[in-house]
Symmetry: C2
Subunit: 736 residues, 2 copies
């Protein structure tokens, strides 16, 4: 759907400043929730004590009274326009006035958010270069085709990135498809043009682009304006009035259309940054990759920009698979493609990416959800449209409260938001850097009823990673119209009812004689006529002929060719077009956020970086390290291998030269959560090994016979490290 | 690689007629093999006694002396030309003579194979329509975009197909990537043109196509000829001479080039089958889907026709990841795209498909494989080039014997063939309908050293499902040349050796003054000169100037600008370009074969069809069926759900109306291997349920507390049904 194009737009929005409190609240509420639903293990803490301290400092600083004092007037400025927009809407003011007010509102919001980010203490800033170096060096992912010069916006995943992604997808499949009993489908990337015409993508899935008038080089218009404006602002020669005007442009840029952008380009005389040539006016560039199917070149197709359409066109089969019953959810994991004009920001904006999408089909008049009570007390941070318009920060509440208060539109949407939150935390997103932001009225597609993006705070700002939208019946209706196919479900009426039926009964003998082989088409067209058009036909035919259009042909029908029959019939069901609730996940973005949130530097040795990945998504569950190359240890190493293989655990043996400390550092770097070390103590019967927790560097000593079950419990997170430490003797070492 | 385009060509080749014997042999050898490697469970038998009997009848019939008598002269006819080809090769005869002989050889081979198929008893034929009906009705897969009229060659997988495919891929990842410690990568589908130019796809990945001269409709030339010839042969009016000529055409068609096809079209006056219009001469149609990256339209790209190239262009990163050591294997699971001219045959020939490819990089002078001894006694059926040329059937032997005798080129290739075979059997391919066919000399790409396709016998004939090729160093060399990048590994020399080094030492001061900013480029170019060109430079520069070409520029160098330095150096390593062994799996084809081989009809009720899928790949592991709708059973049903969920088993409750027999039939149809029934016996303390084996319809009674662990053991195939029957009391029922 169109609105999901937003999933790939970076949103730098207001950081909420009550995070420290929220974080505590979150864990408290979560523990209570876990107990209630009988979940045995709590979510493992994401930070060692030291880094926890550091983060909480960051959060406290963010919320300091000094900062709040600087933010207060900006919050008031936002609220002023928030109130104005509401007032205009109430008064039924002209759309153009409302739109203007919304643009100003957004500009003020942006100023507030930028200030919040700017005021964040430097110590809390994150060293992205160090992380990127690690990811490249250990081949988590890297630019595609780089020996050929590389292609921007395309990335290849190496063994580590691949395994991380596979584990995240596996977890997604378990968490959503299996646990919720969804119907999974796997549709093609190649999509014929008419399908994407109906969905609106052919006409509206575009970005504004300007071209160098001489050499034709292309630039994304908003990016060009942003860069040019920032450069001018940074230039000492620019006068204050111009600087201020440019600041204003930057704040409003997100709401600009082509005319606004053209005006700015002309006013400030922006040129091509590479040649200094003039630029064309902004033109719409469709973001779909075009191709064609078959050899003739006539069959136009695109690579799908999202997986959702594949589900909609299969609606009938899926409904049938579900024995005709609503509600049901279908899900798809697969590739999406978007021909970005000039992709930047690593995995955040790419041209080919893995998506996981759910389409939950539900009765439009009943969006209650039986399992909602299971998540009722689950806490989430909500940044509602209302708070955004008031300049207020996001607030924490239970999803139950949010639905009861009408902040979130209905139980089904609320349920998916809670489940989305659980998934993200499960794979390693820091819940303190996770919020749901509601779309403002004018951000939503006109048919959407409510939309909440799960946004994750990274060094790129708040990144939209999952969209959760109530899309009403838009997509099914569009495909139904385009194909003249009914895409509806039957709903049993509480009371059978009697309805009047009007139908055209063709006289096939006469029609056949008159129209030969076209008679069949005419019959079909007559059978599909609405009540209204039949009445129209009746009127016209009584005084002469009725012109019936079938595709591009027109047939003249007279009264001897048909009759109109009126009757009543008792119906027990009504046909309804289901509403669709759509959670849509961008896996690459989530993966990047997980990597950022897992990135650590060892206290006192900033060069020693590592990834504290959650065991359940870690590419390799444990390393196996002999303390020395002494051959005496080999039988024990072999026994360790065998024990781990028996439990189907992925492990990596590092018996290379180099101190044990260096080898630990190497395995920590790729996010191996546990290390098994074979030392000379191990030889004493019964054989033992030490198990090391990479994040805390703590170790315990374990009987070899218990190693497999312990590692399985730890790596599936059925047991946390704290419990393991209680169960097994701590092993102290100086080697780390 | 080019040769893998063959993976999508149907090969209707000779059925081997010693299958009954082989099947017995296979299971005997396999059991011995299992014992040897300590595998606990044998592969479960694929057929109930009844169907086993039926199949063995089929096999015996195939091999009857009557049939063999009819085949004998055809075998001799093949051998005659096989011998001739060998003789011509030995004599070093002109290529054109050899090619002619090979075409005749192939024609005779095809006649032999067609006769074998034709002589197969009718009872053994398989009712494909019934299977297709089941697959469509229960939404395993179906044509994509059918509400829009559908697109040939594109299929959407529904919930059942999706889960089956996901399980097959999961099994593949375990069997190859995890067990063999391969480096998995995940590269993009979008591929820039220069990459596919280097790999040879832009120039040679094509099929011959003819067009209707008037309306431009396109036909694949070989398909058009085949259909037109078959139609003429079936026409009573066609005289015997023409029929025989056409038979000859059909037999030779596979070896035809464009000229041959044009000749046939002209000779027999073949026209467009839809309009009767004349046809153009055959033209090459490239099978890759074209697109472009970015907004300018200048950056040409294609959707990858295979995943392999992504691995080759990442070779350097992967070698580094493997700490510079050979051998290592990289693997990729992902989409491939081929713009087939007119795809038919369901999942066998599609335009978008999932592939699993392995590239095993190895020292070209040492293709031994340490783990080969583990598969040494594993039996496979080999249809060697030699046997094909002699008109002999495929034979069974251990892979160890095949490598020792030089039938299979080396241990690495042999190891992968054995592992491929194990995988296919694991996911449900009937080993009696599985063989490896060696490529004939002229089928292989010129650089390939050996190539064996795993072919599976289906109702479409023998289908190539996995290619296993030794591709030497072709791909790395091509990409290295195209990018001017070294794609080599370092190999430690047994003895360090002293080598002469010749290098050009530029005088940068002079060069800089003369060529300004080009001096740097000249320096780089000089550093890359080969020994030969340096000698050439020396000669020319001694008498005047040397013209150095850099890209499109030429620079005139004189003796004051540089000197040539000669020295010796001791080297400890040599650079080698690794050879590549490539197993390449077409998952859709394997899945189709698995569905055919799993398809059964109940004895005595041919309308009652079902799928006997292997538990480990079955989409749903068990059904849960209450014997009646009586509410008294609900607490037990809930307990069953809980027990199954605890073991993370996928199940489906069917508490709809309808007899238990009908509900069994419904679950059997979608390949649910086990059924849990709750009946009124269940209520007696301690609660029990019955477990039903769908294939045999046998049932046992089990304590509810043991249900989860039993179902886990059965569905992971750690326990087979025979063992379960020994462990639990048989439950007899009349309800089935």
């Amino acid at each position: 759907m169109i609105s999901t194009c937003l999933i790939r737009r970076v949103v730098l929005a207001g950081r909420f400043y009550q995070k420290a409190t929220f974080a505590q609240e979150f864990f408290k509420a979560e523990t209570a929730f876990n107990k209630k639903v009988g979940r045995k293990t709590s979510i493992a803490p994401r930070f060692t004590k030291k880094s926890k301290l550091k983060l909480s400092e960051y959060l406290r600083n963010m919320a300091s009274p000094e900062i709040e004092a600087q933010l207060a007037p900006l919050r008031i400025a936002v609220k002023e326009y928030g109130d104005l927009v509401r007032q205009l809407k109430e008064q039924g003011a002209p759309k153009i006035d409302i739109d203007k007010a919304v643009i100003e509102l957004k500009a003020r919001k942006k100023k507030l958010e930028d200030t919040e980010v700017a005021l964040a203490p430097k110590e809390a800033s994150f060293d992205r270069l160090k992380l990127e170096d690690l990811l490249k060096r250990r081949f988590f992912y890297d630019q595609s085709f780089s020996i050929y010069g590389g292609v921007t916006g395309l990335y290849d995943f190496g063994p580590m990135g691949c395994a991380l992604k596979a584990n995240m997808l596996q977890e997604w499949r378990k968490h959503f498809i299996l646990e919720e009993g969804m119907l999974e489908v796997d549709c093609t990337s190649l999509t014929p043009e008419p399908v994407l015409k109906a969905s609106g993508h052919v006409d509206r899935f575009a970005d504004w682009m300007v071209k160098d008038v001489k050499n034709g080089e292309c630039f994304r218009a908003d990016h060009l304006i942003k860069n040019a404006a920032e450069k001018l602002i940074g230039d000492k020669k620019t006068d204050e009035a111009t600087k201020s005007a440019l600041q204003d442009v930057l704040a409003r840029l997100e709401g600009f259309d082509d005319k606004d952008m053209q005006e700015v380009i002309t006013k400030f005389g922006f040129k091509s940054p590479s040649t200094g040539n003039e630029l064309t006016p902004p033109i719409a560039f469709n973001l779909m990759f075009p191709s064609q199917i078959g050899p003739t070149g006539d069959f136009k197709a695109y690579l799908r920009p999202e997986t959702a359409q594949g589900i909609f066109v299969n609606f009938k089969r899926l409904l049938e698979f579900n024995q005709g019953k609503l509600p049901f959810a279908a899900a798809q994991i697969g590739l999406g493609f978007r021909n970005e004009i000039s992709p930047r920001q690593g995995l955040i904006r790419v041209r080919e990416f893995t998506m996981c999408e759910i389409e939950h089909f539900v009765d439009p008049n009943d969006k209650s959800f039986p399992k909602f009570k299971k998540v009722h007390s689950y806490p989430v941070v909500l940044f509602s449209a209302c708070n955004q318009m008031d300049g207020q920060p996001a607030v924490s509440m239970t999803i139950g409260e949010a639905v009861e208060k009408g902040i979130v539109a209905n139980e089904t949407l609320g349920y998916y938001m809670a489940r989305t939150h659980m998934y993200l935390v499960k794979v390693g997103v820091d819940p303190r850097r996770l919020r749901f932001r509601q779309h403002l009225g004018n951000e939503m597609a006109h048919y959407a009823q409510d939309c909440w993006d799960a946004e994750i705070l990274t060094s790129y700002g708040w990144i939209e990673c999952v969209g959760n939208a109530d899309r009403s019946c838009y997509d099914l209706t569009q495909h139904s119209k385009a194909t003249n196919t009914k895409l509806v479900a039957e709903k049993k009426l509480e009371q059978p009812k009697t309805v009047d039926v009007v139908e055209v009964v063709p006289n096939m003998a006469v029609l056949g004689k008159e129209f030969k082989k076209d008679a069949k088409r005419i019959q079909t067209a007559l059978a599909q006529m609405s009540e209204e058009s039949i009445e129209d036909l009746e009127k016209q035919i009584s005084t002469g002929a009725f012109k019936l259009k079938v595709d591009d042909d027109e047939f003249s029908l007279t009264s001897n060719m048909l009759s109109v029959k009126r009757s009543t019939k008792t119906v027990h069901v009504e046909e309804i077009t289901p509403s669709v609730i759509e959670p849509s996940f961008g896996i690459g973005r989530i993966m990047y956020a997980v990597l950022e949130h897992s990135f650590r530097q060892r206290e006192g040795d900033e060069q020693r970086t590592f990834l504290a990945l959650r065991p359940r998504v870690a590419p390799i569950k444990c390393s196996v390290l002999p303390i020395s190359a002494n051959e005496r240890l080999n039988p024990i190493i072999d026994a360790v291998r065998e024990e781990l293989s028996r439990y189907e655990l992925s492990y990596r043996v590092d018996d290379s030269a180099g101190s044990i400390g260096r080898r630990y550092a190497r395995t920590d770097e790729i996010g191996i959560p546990f290390g098994v070390t074979v030392d000379f103590e191990s030889e004493k019967e019964p054989w033992t090994v030490t198990v090391r927790h990479a994040e805390s560097m703590e170790q315990v000593r374990v009987d070899l016979t218990e190693l497999g079950s312990l590692m399985l419990a730890l790596s599936t997170e059925r047991m946390d490290w704290e419990t393991a430490k209680e169960k097994y003797p701590i092993f102290e070492t100086k080697s780390d």
